[in-house]
């Protein structure tokens, strides 16, 4: 049985992620492949998104700096980029639709922090512009 064919770099890399309410939720900064336990070719198990994943692609001093920053911003002790399990991907088109809300993603932490500590302190932040 032949399934749909995609070229990862062209059709998936750097695409916009949308959550279940069509809110923008980051980019496909990298993909994680896993080898099945019984052997056989690897398959995609997660989307890696956020500064930690992006840092690996940029390389050099900028990448190292970004990675350090990303690790400091995350609560977990592990030094790995935020991942989105591929099971929550709904559709791959000109953007990648997810079946969960943005708040449930690991990748949303920085946004949430800036939202809570900076932006929401400014009057009017919680109302749509008029």
């Amino acid at each position: 049985m032949a399934g749909r064919v995609l070229d990862a770099g062209l059709d998936l890399f750097d695409r916009q992620l949308l959550d279940k309410d069509a809110r923008l939720a980051g980019k496909v900064d990298d993909l994680e492949f896993s080898f099945p336990e019984g052997g056989g070719p690897p398959h995609v198990t997660a989307i890696l998104a956020g500064p930690g994943a992006l840092a690996g692609r940029l390389g050099g001093r900028l990448g190292a700096w970004l990675e350090g920053l990303a690790n400091r911003l995350r609560d977990s002790q592990e030094r790995r980029p935020a991942r989105i399990p591929f099971g929550v991907v709904k559709r791959i088109g000109s953007c990648v639709d997810l079946s969960v809300a943005k708040e449930e993603l690991e990748t949303d932490r920085v946004d949430a922090w800036i939202g809570d500590h900076v932006i929401s302190r400014i009057p009017g932040a919680r109302h749509a512009p008029e």
Binding site: F13, D111, I114, P129
Partner: protein, 409 residues
């Protein structure tokens, strides 16, 4: 009927929103030094921005993806980051120039030093970004910007020698005492003023902010193909006025105040007052567009939520970038760096940076995966490719010319 109104409103705001501090400075300075001999560049620039903006608007409308989103997809994370740094820097420089321009316009009306107005202007720009609905913002400043038509009225009342002006424009020659490199340097400045990259960031993101769908493609086309050329005509009017008033007298304009002299001489106090309103609206509107564009480019590269169509708490990083850009931009012109000088550099660098955003848009506008049946036509591609070649040449020669001519001095 509603559609007709919508299209008419779109065209009017496109005209009023076309001119910004860059167009005012570039057209006035060029007219004063070179007469009408570089008018053809404005035509080339306006056609270019039409082709470019129409494509960006169509891509954003059909695929829902604004410019910088696509830049990242087509160029990859690394090249797109370099692109982002360059584009952001130029947009930021333009923002600083526009904030300075607003303050200068208020100074002309109040005689209170422009530096004192900058903090207030910056606050107002941020407040509109923060609280005012996108459509209201677009319409108010677009329509108010139509006040600049007063320059065209003044020109009309003046009964100039049209034949001589047209002859000057259609027989371009480098005036005596000016070198070829300087002439070309000003040509690049004019092109950069007409085709500033932020206009495309803003236009394509605006299509998403406005929630355009395929049925709005007509509005897109009308805005671009009718509104922009008429806006371009307004900038040409500024060039004509400088040709008539400044060139024969040897005036090398370096202040916004000088630009208003010709209109005041022809139309008197009322004309002058309307023109000052026009300066204010044009620069303030552009300050909003550049401030938002700073946020749009960064957010779209990283995939953050952006836009004024959601509550600020929904798009925290977008608002943070916009706020910081406004504060730093205001800081740059508060350092007493002359806003007119900042403008001169920002438009020239804009011209050099154009291929960075133009090329990815041209690619995606051809990709049926995004565009379905709305891909570029053959004619569109022919013109698009021609401009790509032109912009690449401009990008290569700009910096050497800048050094060679000591930035046109």
């Amino acid at each position: 009927m509603r559609k007709v109104f919508e299209i008419a409103l779109g065209i009017l705001t496109a005209i009023g929103g076309f001119v910004d501090i860059g167009d005012i400075v570039a057209n006035t300075e060029t007219g004063a030094r070179f007469g009408m001999s570089l008018a053809w560049v404005v035509v080339v620039g306006v056609v270019g921005i039409c082709v470019f903006a129409e494509m960006a608007g169509r891509v954003a409308t059909v695929s829902g993806r604004p410019v910088f989103d696509l830049v990242r997809e087509r160029l990859g994370a690394r090249v797109a980051l370099v692109n982002l740094l360059a584009s952001f820097f130029i947009t930021f420089l333009t923002l600083a120039a526009e904030i300075g321009g607003v303050a200068l316009a208020i100074e002309l009306a109040t005689s209170v030093n422009y530096l004192l107005w900058i903090p207030l202007v910056a606050f107002l720009v941020w407040f509109v970004v923060w609280r005012v609905k996108f459509q209201v913002m677009e319409n108010v400043f677009g329509l108010l910007g139509l006040a600049l038509i007063v320059v065209a009225v003044a020109l009309w009342r003046l009964h100039p020698d049209w034949g001589g002006l047209i002859h000057g424009a259609t027989h371009p020659a480098v005036p005596k005492g000016e070198g070829h490199p300087t002439w070309w340097y000003f040509a690049i400045a004019l092109l950069g003023a007409a085709m500033t990259p932020y206009e495309v960031f803003f236009f394509s993101s605006g299509a998403v902010e406005d929630g355009w769908t395929r049925s709005d493609l007509m509005v897109n086309r009308a805005n671009v193909y009718i509104g922009f050329p008429l806006g371009g005509l307004l900038s040409l009017t500024l060039m004509v006025m400088a040709t008539l008033f400044f060139e024969p007298r040897g005036i090398e304009p370096g202040h916004l105040s000088q630009v208003a002299l010709s209109t005041a001489l022809v139309l008197g106090k009322l004309g002058l007052a309307v023109l000052l309103v026009g300066f204010f609206a044009a620069t303030f509107g552009a300050a909003l567009e550049t401030a938002l564009s700073c946020g749009y480019t960064v957010a779209q590269y990283f995939g953050f939520q952006w836009g004024k169509f959601v509550r600020p708490t929904e798009a925290p990083r977008f608002h943070l970038v916009t706020l910081l850009s406004i504060v730093l931009g205001a800081g740059l012109v508060l350092s007493t760096l002359d806003p007119i000088k900042v403008t001169e550099y920002s438009i020239v660098l804009s011209a050099a940076a154009l291929p960075l955003t133009y090329f990815p848009i041209l690619l995606v506008a051809n990709d049926p995966d995004y565009m379905g049946d709305k891909v570029n036509s053959r004619l569109g591609n022919a013109i698009g490719s021609l401009y790509l070649a032109l912009l690449l040449v401009v990008a290569v020669v700009t910096i050497p010319l800048m050094i060679l001519t000591k930035a046109g001095s």
